[in-house]
């Protein structure tokens, strides 16, 4: 469902991705690992359409309505409506907007894009309560402003809640494990696992192997210097944990 070919991208004048290739099929889980500054977060932001990054060459194709289309042509909101979800490394605070209102608006924008009727407030509340159980969030979080005053762990859980609500086809998790204690990590990982299906795919960007104890990847890629330099299965992550990245470079 996702084909990235020879992708080059920069932010301001700094080239970050220098010829990246990646292919993701439905049902797969890919882990992208690599040292600091290798371009891991850049990749997920480009896929979601962050305006600060500029793609200088290469292509990104994504399956929409059974055909591979140029993803880079679409605005971030259209990408989201077409099933791409980015769980932010640092979720943004939105003062004055309740989490409920935010989720409801977001959910209905996606529904409308698909040509469905928007869901009423009451029905959505019920739907949401089911989803909140997945990430063990208490209902009072719905009335609070989006991410305002949330702890690091609560923000990450809130990201997974949004993911559960939008049920994306391609989920990009950008260092979702960073800053989480072991219990929060388990809750987040279980949440992600419950959302896995044969139809959707997950790309995990992570620093550490420990997330992969909970979410089993089909592929592990090592990103360094803006390119993928090694691809393997889950055992590659274990090896990296033991040996670091130096032996690959």
């Amino acid at each position: 469902m996702l084909e990235i070919k020879n992708l080059h991208a920069k932010i301001e004048d700094k080239e970050i991705l220098k010829g990246l290739n990646l292919s993701v099929k439905a049902g797969e889980v890919h882990a992208i690992m690599g040292p600091n500054g290798s371009g891991k977060s850049t990749l997920s932001k480009i896929l979601a359409g962050h305006p600060a990054y500029e793609v200088t060459s290469g292509e990104v194709k994504y399956e929409i309505n059974f055909s591979m289309q140029n993803l880079l042509e679409f605005s971030p909101d259209v990408r989201a409506k077409e099933g791409i979800f980015l769980a932010f490394q640092y979720p943004i605070e939105v003062p004055g907007v309740s989490n409920f209102n935010f989720l409801h608006t977001s959910f209905n924008s996606v529904l409308q894009h698909q040509g469905s009727e928007p869901m009423s407030e009451g029905d959505f509340r019920e739907f949401l309560h089911q989803k909140m159980k997945l990430v063990q969030m208490k209902p009072e979080y719905l009335e609070r402003s989006v991410n305002v005053g949330f702890s690091g762990g609560e923000k990450k859980r809130n990201e997974i809640l949004q993911m559960a609500v939008l049920s994306p086809r391609l989920a990009l998790l950008d260092e979702t494990d960073s800053g989480l204690d072991i219990d929060a990590l388990r809750i987040v990982a279980e949440g992600v696992n419950k959302l896995r299906t044969k139809e959707n795919a997950v790309v995990l960007v992570t620093h550490y192997q420990r997330l992969l104890d909970y979410i089993k990847p089909d592929f592990v890629h090592v990103l360094s210097g803006g390119k993928i330099i090694q691809t393997g299965d889950a055992t590659l992550a274990l090896e990296l944990e033991k040996k670091g990245y130096d032996w690959l470079m």
Binding site: S75, D77, I92, V94, V97, S106, V110
Partner: protein, 489 residues
């Protein structure tokens, strides 16, 4: 505090289409341009005013000519600038030619006027009126009528134009007129007192909750004409009223002056809630035309346990200059100021409030939200003054500014004077920017750019919008959304 936004990679394009910018083609009767004692006598004669009113006007005029226009004072304090105003080049009175009889049904009005207000969303004809809100409609210098008068009369509520009240309720008008804002108050207050045209008068009798919301709609139509309205609201002991004010003007190339005085008087245990959605023409994106909105609004909580609140959404005018204030004279009285001020393109706003604590255990709340877009300048200026007599006074102030784009500016000028040690004051201020990251976050959840911005702005203004009556808050949200539509790239 003062901050100018920088380094944000967003175009500063804005300018939305001002849908109230049309002109009504109606024959009006104006007096010659210029200002002198004869002009004042003509205005007074047109309104058939009693002598005390004419004398008041003349006293105000004689005071006014001794004053210097505030922007020409060397150490001017306001954060606004504009070319010198030629007061001799303005017309101080303009009214539709066809005589308007306030006693007659509004169905008999000139059809052009009826059409005009229909386009503005204010149906005047009996069968089409908005239920639950009584409206006094002011067109240029005159009130053209007031709706729902019969229902209000039943409750003993007086709601009519100030010109009419001067005749029909002289004792009330004479007692309170100019008692809160004397003509000596400031340059524009003196000017208004000399040439005031029309506006509304409200009296709510003792222990009466006004059976419906009251509203005045101001429309400037004529060219090169200033509007100098005068509103006086008296809430007698134990009464309550919700009052709404709206305003628009045609799109014109020259600047127009709107200089009003609003006075509120709340007696013991009375409460007045005054809300404004101000949408005067702002001028075009090059800063040509637009209304100069120089207004003095002040309320006095005269009796114990009385309450006055000002809620304003300031989204129009080329220049806005106003500080709705409350004098807290009665013990345990409460004043509040809730404001959203939006500036875009080349608009300038210097707005805020004054809370003057005199009585014991008085309380005031100030929530101000400034949004600047384009190349506009937006300043909050507020004074909290605790007099020696104000034992246990409390104030809470919160002033937040939001910057949209990289060419606008936001300023906060809080002034505090405390003369009683028992006072407790809290002040919070913040300046934030709608960031690319915030918009991206909302977009990545399926909201388009416009929806994202409106969600961010609504979140920012929430504490003020919730103070508005429902219909007004819906309108305010829409207005702000429309105006910001093209402000963020």
């Amino acid at each position: 505090m003062s901050e100018t936004s920088k380094n944000m990679n967003q175009p500063s394009a804005d300018s939305y289409e001002y849908k109230y910018g049309f002109e009504t083609n109606i024959e009006s009767e104006s007096i010659p341009k210029g200002l002198n004692e004869d002009i004042i006598k003509i205005i007074s004669a047109k309104k058939n005013e009693p002598e005390w009113v004419l004398n008041y006007r003349l006293k105000a005029y004689r005071h006014w000519i001794t004053l210097t226009e505030p922007s020409e004072i060397p150490e001017k304090w306001a954060q606004v600038s504009y070319p010198k105003i030629d007061f001799q080049d303005l017309t101080y009175y303009s009214a539709p030619k066809k005589k308007i009889d306030p006693k007659k049904s509004m169905d008999d009005l000139d059809p052009e006027l009826i059409k005009t207000f229909e386009r503005l969303g204010i149906p005047l004809q009996e069968q089409k009126r908005i239920s639950g809100v009584a409206v006094d409609v002011v067109f240029d210098s005159v009130s053209i009528g007031t709706t729902h008068t019969a229902e209000l009369e039943k409750a003993g509520v007086i709601f009519c134009s100030i010109s009419e009240a001067i005749h029909s309720h002289p004792e009330l008008v004479e007692k309170y007129f100019g008692s809160v804002v004397p003509y000596t108050d400031n340059y524009y207050a003196a000017l208004n007192a000399a040439v005031f045209s029309d506006g509304s008068f409200v009296y709510i009798p003792k222990n009466t909750k006004c059976p419906m919301d009251l509203s005045t709609y101001f429309r400037i139509n004529a060219k090169e004409t200033g509007q100098f309205e005068r509103t006086l609201i008296v809430a007698d002991e134990g009464s309550f009223v919700n009052y709404l004010e709206g305003c628009t003007a045609p799109q014109r190339d020259e600047n127009q002056l709107h200089s009003a005085i609003v006075e509120l008087i709340a007696l013991e245990k009375a409460e007045i809630k005054y809300s404004t959605v101000q949408n005067w023409y702002t001028g075009d994106k090059n800063g040509v035309g637009g209304i100069y909105n120089f207004v003095t609004k002040r309320g006095i909580c005269k009796g114990a346990h009385s309450k006055i609140s000002w809620t304003q959404v300031e989204s129009g005018s080329a220049i806005t200059w106003k500080y709705p204030s409350v004098i807290l004279q009665g013990d345990y009285s409460e004043g509040a100021f809730y404001s959203v001020a939006l500036t875009h393109d080349l608009m300038q706003a210097d707005t805020g409030t004054k809370m003057i604590h005199i009585g014991k255990n008085t309380k005031s709340t100030i929530i101000s939200k400034g949004i600047s877009a384009g190349k506009s300048s937006n300043a909050y200026r507020g004074l909290v003054k605790i007099m020696p007599s104000a034992e246990n006074a409390r104030n809470y102030s919160q002033c937040d500014s939001m910057l949209v784009g990289d060419k606008c500016s936001a300023h906060t000028f809080p002034y505090i004077e405390v003369k009683n040690k028992s006072a407790i004051l809290e002040h919070e201020a913040s300046t934030s920017r709608i960031s690319e990251d915030q918009i991206f976050y909302l977009q990545s959840r399926g909201l388009d750019t416009e929806k994202s911005i409106s969600m961010l702005v609504n979140g920012f203004c929430k504490e003020v919008f919730k103070e508005l009556p429902l219909e007004f808050s819906v309108e305010a949200v829409k207005l702000i959304e429309m105006k910001l539509e093209n402000s963020v790239g």
